[in-house]
Amino acid sequence: MTTTIRLQREAFDVAAEVAALTRGRTDIGAVVTFTGICRADEDGAPIAALTLEHYPRMAEAEIARHIEEARARWPLLGMTVVHRYGRLVPGEPIVLVVTASSHRQAAFTAAEFLMDFLKTRAPFWKQVETFAGTSWVEAKAADDVAADRWSAPPRREVR
């Protein structure tokens, strides 16, 4: 299985990441991508930018552990996670998850799983820059709820 984890300041190219995962293969029937983008508002208030701080070696290790867990849980053929850090303005992409499988359900489920864990367990912190100053984004209870659903045995058997 092809897996890629990259933390970087630079923007990423979704098409290039998908091509790297699927090139020359004819066993992949489903590719899901998730791109997280910096919005111009946070909790309803306009923002000028987000600055992402991270814990470098731990972030890579934590993402690798979750990729390993996804691989053990679902029949996947490839996974890519790219997460940016540094200052990002509205409209810029923040995070990319790509999953590939022979069937769609594993690809969808693993992408949601990886995103829920990036939101709650990967050591990244967002600082919001508004026109009035800076503040740290607070963790959302809804993200913990979303992550908690993966503690139960896999819920959906359909593929």
Binding site: G36, L52, E53, H54, Y55, R57, M58, A59, A61, E62, H83, I94, V95, M115, L118, K119, T120, R121, A122, P123, F124, W125, K126, Q127, W136, V137, E138, A139, D143
Partner: protein, 83 residues
């Protein structure tokens, strides 16, 4: 052992990392937060609500009752907001 701080914990402590040598009775991550909180105003502020602070030992998430013996690097940070 080395301590590393992130996000508002880092801002409140006023440094990104430091070397410490806590006394033997500081056995767990929770003990360490209590001990750190007694080291001065900035630490008291950073750790005033220790329950919300998360910790990692050698780059693995741990709970407050985790033993710190043998740890090379302990990190303290707020709940994560990546993705």
């Amino acid at each position: 052992m080395k301590l590393i701080y992130f996000a508002w914990v880092r801002e409140r402590v006023g440094k990104t990392e430091e070397e410490i040598d806590p006394p033997a009775e500081v056995a767990t991550v929770g003990d360490l937060m209590t001990w750190l909180a007694g080291r001065g105003e900035e630490y008291a502020y950073a750790f005033e609500n220790a329950k919300v602070i998360r910790a990692a030992i050698d780059r693995h998430h741990v709970r407050a009752d985790a033993a710190i013996a043998g740890a090379a690097e302990i990190a303290f940070f707020p709940p994560m907001t990546g993705g």
